[in-house]
Each structure stands twice: as structure tokens, then as C-alpha cells.
Amino acid sequence: MRRWLEGLKQLRRYPSAVLGMLLILFLVGLSVYTVVAIPYSQALDLWRGGDHWRMHPVNASPVWADRLRGGDLPETQIISSDEVTARVQEFPGGRRLQIPLGFDYQSSAFPSELNLFLRVHDTERPPFVRFIWQAPDGSEQVIGGRRVARDERVSISQDWGLERRLGHVPHVGLMMDPGSGNPSQPEVLTGIHTMLLDVVMFDEAGSVSADLVVYGRVHGIAGTDHQRRDLMVALMWGTPVALAFGLIAAVGTTVTTLVIAAMGVWFRGWVDATIQRLTEVNMILPMLPILVMVGTLYSTSIWLMLGVVVALGIFSAGIKMYRAMLLPIREAPYIEAAKAYGAGDARIILRYMVPRVLPVLIPTFVTLIPTFVFLEASLAVLGLGDPVLPTWGKVLNDAQEQSALYNGFYYWVVSPAALLMLTGLGFAMLGFALDRVFNPRLRSL
């Protein structure tokens, strides 16, 4: 045990190891936080998409990406009727409500979309709503009116008639400065815009509430995808999934590989021959196509993939490497001594041979983790990712399918790729430093 502690102490002498450990620590911390903050079932539910995200913009880039470039792209504003006071006029058989949904708009860029979500409560008789847009310069624009039966979404941006009338898509046409010179390059009229809802209720009891969503062009730390999903969910949940996959696959393959190699070396004869032949056959089997086949024909569950990866990884080139390391150890006097004082086969393999190569193995093992993380991501990019889990690979897969780079959504590719790289970097830096600590021959004097 002390040897390990000493090794760790030595690690402090390597700045790359410290940095690597910090990176790993960060990733582990992020994983723990994620799992606590967004429980598994909730994450799956969120990632399935749908109504959770209706108030998020489509394909918005991260806020920091815009601010770093000195931009002032708008963030999403949600104006709720609960926060404003409505003017009420009673009349026989009903009421008239005037709900001003005002917001201060200061960005020089237009919002990406305008939507209004209406909810009607406690009435059987659908009220009539007129939508009036009041611009900061005092002008008014009647958008239209309609009966609202229940919960309804009014997609102002997709109002073709309005678009024709305004000569621009509505979220531009409504908010542009009419005095701006070039009509093909409209400018935003900053100030307080108000969407006035003129509601006529044919009932005394009912009420109407509304949310006006002025969708921004930037969102949060990670941005959103084509389904309005906040990428943060996938980036965060991708961390524990990637780490767990990498760790389990690395542990599973190295430990079993090592034990099997040790068995071959110890028993020799047909045991060794069988293991060697199996390895040789397995080494020429291409792993990725097999995974693709399993994924296509059977299931893309991450656990199945993990199982197949470990199973294929056991009889890998590692067996040859460990065999080469273990062969001289088999002849070590201490093994002969152990046999001479009565140690059995299992004990010799597990307690005398395997621990001897562990120090050499730890660095290899640490550098192996990101390989499996990348493998999992690659599978997801190929469309063989777990169908329900949010992972980095899935984000990349979506980005690829939506031609993210072509459309200029760099963030969509860059953030999962950066996380993958950080993982690789962290483990690699730690692994190489460990290699120097545990294999002093590599240490230059």
C-alpha cells in the first residue's frame, strides 16, 4: 500500500500529472453533480424532447460564444400574464380583459421566433382574443384575432398572412424600425414592445393566462439543438456515462485479460495454446463492424455494447503483451519458492504473478479509459448509441445529421468534442506520468 502512496507523492513532481488529475477530478465532480441534480429518469425524460422545451429557441448558440465575440444576440424573454396587471371591463354576460405583455428589447438583432401560449381556465365558452402589437414608437399593429378553445399555441412567426402584410417574417416585421433605411436590411427598434391581448370572455368565472415567448438567438452555457433541447443536459449526462463506460470497459478488459494471460503462462501446454489461438483469431476480427452488426441486428443498449466491447477486448493484443511480461516472471525465483512452500495454482497466478505486473499495468489502464470513451462516442456517432441515454456521442450524431457545421452551429460539435478531448487529455497526461513513476526505466535522469 505504501508503495502506491509513495507513487502518488512522486506524481506531484509531474505538472502534467497534476493537470491530468485536476481534469479527471473536474469530470468526476461534474458526474456526481449531474447525477444528483438531474436524476437518471428525469434526464431520460428531458432528452426524449417535446413539451419541456417549447419555450427554448431552436439551434441557439451558447451565450458565452456570442459575448466573447462582442455580440449582443438576444436571450429568450418570457413575459407571463401573471406578472402584469390586466385592465378589466365588466359587461353583461361577460368581461373584457386587456393584458399588456410588454418587454424591453435592447438587442440589435431580431429574436429568432415569437410564440404566444394561451391557457383558458374555468369556462366552457371559448373567449375571443385579439392580438395587438404596440411598438415603442407608439404605432400599433393588429395581428389578428381568434377564438381560443383550450390551451393554445399561437405561432406568430408562422402567420403567413401577417408575413405577407409586413413584408418580413413577423418577428422581424413587428420589431423593425420603420425608419431604417434599407428595407432589405431591417434594424431593430429598441425599447418597450408590448403584445396587447384584448380578450372578450363570455362568462363571468373564467380567466385567461398567457406567456409571450420572445425566443433569443443564444441560450445558456451549451446552447440548444434542433429540437429546442438544452445541450447542457446531454453534455452533463454524457460525463458519467462516458466515465462509467470507459472505466468498466478498461477494468473489465485489463483484469480479465491479465488473469487469462497469467493462466496461459502458468499452465503452459494446451491452455496457453488455446488462449493464444483464440487471441490470434480475435485480433484479426474487426471490432467496429462487429459492434455495428450487434447494434443493427440486436440492440444498441449501452450495457450490451459494453458487454460486447469487454468480451472482444479480453482476447486482444493485450494478452500477447502481458504474456511477454509474465513469461520471465513465471521463472522468477520467488514463484519457485512459492511453489516450494505449497502455494496452489490459483494463488500463484493471482497473488504472485498478477501483482508483479500491476505497476506496469496501471498507466496502460489509465490511458486505456479514454480509448473506450472514444469508442462509445464513435458508436453513437455512427448511430449506434444507446437510444435513450443523452451522451456526447449522441450530440455529435445529431449535429452531424443536422449538418451543424454546414449551418454554422459550431458549438454543437465543439462542446462535446472538447469534453471528449479533455477526458482523453486528462487520462493520458495522468497515464504517461504514472508510467514514468511506475516504470522508472523511462525516467530520464
Partner: protein, 330 residues
């Protein structure tokens, strides 16, 4: 000192052969290496004997056969009345607790990833000493017996933190911890510094005498033997060529090989620089293809044509209790 050297026989080898198969291209049988080729001797309880010979004479293979690490090809080993070659797995395990093993390279003989306490506990764990306290006590006793005191300060040391001499003491302690009745030491000091060698040999000898153990001490160095063994077996080409009580053999060597060996060993003496040794020419025989007749005859200055190169010499007794396998004594 030698309480009952005349008494009971502890271990007896009868016509013992250990051959290793030679293979060509991995599967074709290409003959045998006759590492041990017809060896007879009996070791008494409580005596220290030395097997002496050059590398490749089969002495280490003999040691491993006696330890049950190689199966004898032919012949038998009788230990405390039981036949080694007839033992099943359990019997062999029990036998291994009765025979301790001290190896040549002390650093290699200790697992580098275990501390001394663990190293010494291993044999006890394997042989079912479950109680931790008992184990600790026996480990401590063994360390004290090899004069690694205070024992506590060594328990948590790793082999690389010990000097060569200390490492070899740990190896000896490990051989003792199961309280064997015999210890086989294969070149126990040849890898150690000259000044430590004497210390280790004395320790082994003292323990052997105190415990009344049988010590089979395998060495290539005749000069150390006089003070640390009672009988000597000289081996050459897989056979024992001469055996006698230690002073008898060193003072009156009978076999030409023993004589050459003794003549080649210098005592520190400034006159050495002026004289050349009479060294028999040639090389030790190949054990895969030994010469017919006496194995030493190709190098022997006194070889008799037509006899030594044809017939294997039997053991003669040219002096009382002194056997020599050479036709000269005919």
C-alpha cells in the same frame, strides 16, 4: 553437537534420475537432458551435507527434485519413510511444509510487492494457520531466529529496502517458518558480498544445529564447505563421483575430478601469482549427450583407454567411509 547423526535416515534417494525431454521445433522428441542420472545417497536427521559441483553438473536439478518441483524420471525419494513420487496433491503439500528452500538470489526469491511480514505469513496462510495472532507470533519468532531484531522494525519493510544479507535472512526465515525437518539451500551465498557470506553460512549452520535440522547445502565453492557441512557429495555430469566426511574428502581427495577442483581453488596467497593451476582441459560434459563410461574421462589426465571410455565406474571405497566412482581404485 551432532546429537544423532548416526541415527535415523531422514531422506534417501535411490537410483534417482531426473531427465528433461528435449524437443525440436516444439514437438519432435530429440532426446533427453539427463540432469540427474542415477544418484544414490542417504541423509541422516540433523546432519549438514554439501553437494558440490560446477554449473551444469545437475546439483540444482537434484535440489528441485528433492523439493518436489521436478518429478523424478526414475528411481525413488524416501522421506521420513514415505515415498515422494507416490504422494498425491495433498501429500505433496504436506511434504513441502517439511522441507524448506533457500535460493541463490535473495532479491529474486522475495516477491518485491510484499512486505516482510506478508512474505513470512504466506507459507502459514497456505498451510492453514488461520489465527492472525498465531501467525504474527510465528513470523516474529522466525525473524528473531535469523537475527533480524527487533522483528517489528522489519515487518513492514519491502525487499528492496533491505541489504543482500538481510534479504537472505528473510529467505531463511521463510524457509523456517513452517518448522521443517530439512532445509535445502541452493547456492545460498554465491550472490552475496564476500563479507556477508560467512555471516549467512554461520547463521544457517547455527540454526541447523540448534533445531537439529538436516541441511542440504548446494554449492560450487569448495572453500566454504569445510566449516559448514559434515559430509560432501561431489557431483559431475549428473552423478555423484565422490562422497566422504568433509575433512576426509578435502584432505584426501580420491577422484581425479575432485583433485582438479581442489587444485583450482586459490587461498589468498601472494605466491599464487607465480604459479599456474593444473586445469583439466575441455568443458563439462553435455547432459543431453554424455560421454560413455566415466563422464570425466575426456578431461581426465589419468584416463585409461579401453576402460574409462567404455564402462561406467561403480562406487569404490578406497579409504574407509569414503566412496569414489573411479576405475583407478579398482
Amino acid at each position: 553437537m551432532n546429537r544423532d547423526t548416526t541415527a535415523e535416515t531422514l531422506l534417501e534417494a535411490r537410483d534417482l534420475h531426473t531427465w528433461f525431454e528435449l524437443r525440436q521445433w516444439g514437438f519432435l522428441r530429440a532426446g533427453h537432458v539427463r540432469a540427474v542420472d542415477g544418484v544414490n545417497f542417504a541423509l541422516r536427521r540433523g546432519e549438514a551435507v554439501a553437494f558440490v559441483g560446477e554449473s551444469g553438473c545437475g546439483k540444482s536439478s537434484l535440489a528441485r527434485t528433492l523439493l518436489g518441483l521436478h518429478r523424478p524420471t526414475r528411481g525413488e525419494v524416501v522421506f521420513e519413510g514415505g515415498h515422494l513420487e507416490a504422494l498425491d496433491k495433498r501429500g505433496l503439500k504436506t511434504y513441502r511444509a517439511r522441507v524448506g528452500y533457500v535460493q541463490q538470489d535473495p532479491y529474486g526469491a522475495l516477491p518485491p510487492f510484499m512486505d516482510v511480514g506478508r512474505i513470512l505469513s504466506e507459507p502459514l496462510i497456505i498451510h492453514g494457520v488461520r489465527d492472525r495472532e498465531t501467525r504474527q507470533a510465528r513470523v516474529r519468532a522466525a525473524l528473531e531466529e535469523v537475527r533480524l531484531t527487533p522483528a517489528e522494525s522489519y515487518l513492514s519493510k519491502f525487499p528492496h529496502q533491505l541489504s543482500g544479507g538481510q534479504q537472505q535472512r528473510v529467505v531463511i526465515a521463510r524457509a523456517l517458518v513452517l518448522e521443517p525437518s530439512m532445509i535445502i539451500a541452493d547456492e545460498p551465498v554465491s550472490m552475496l558480498d564476500a563479507s556477508v557470506r560467512v555471516e549467512i553460512l554461520r547463521l544457517l549452520r547455527n540454526i541447523q544445529v540448534e533445531r537439529g535440522l538436516t541441511l542440504a547445502f548446494i554449492t560450487h565453492d569448495l572453500s566454504t564447505v569445510r566449516h559448514f557441512a559434515e559430509r560432501i557429495f561431489v557431483m559431475y555430469g549428473g552423478r555423484i563421483v565422490e562422497q566422504a566426511e568433509v575433512n576426509e574428502l578435502l584432505d584426501h581427495p580420491q577422484h581425479p575430478y575432485t583433485q582438479a577442483l581442489l587444485a583450482a581453488i586459490p587461498d589468498p596467497d601472494p605466491d599464487n601469482a607465480d604459479r599456474e593451476h593444473a586445469v583439466p582441459g575441455g568443458e563439462p560434459p553435455s547432459l543431453a549427450n554424455p560421454p560413455p563410461g566415466c563422464r570425466f574421462h575426456p578431461r581426465c589426465p589419468e584416463a585409461m583407454a579401453g576402460l574409462c571410455d567404455r564402462d561406467e565406474p561403480p562406487d569404490f571405497e578406497p579409504r574407509p567411509v569414503h566412496l569414489s566412482a573411479c576405475w583407478l581404485h579398482r
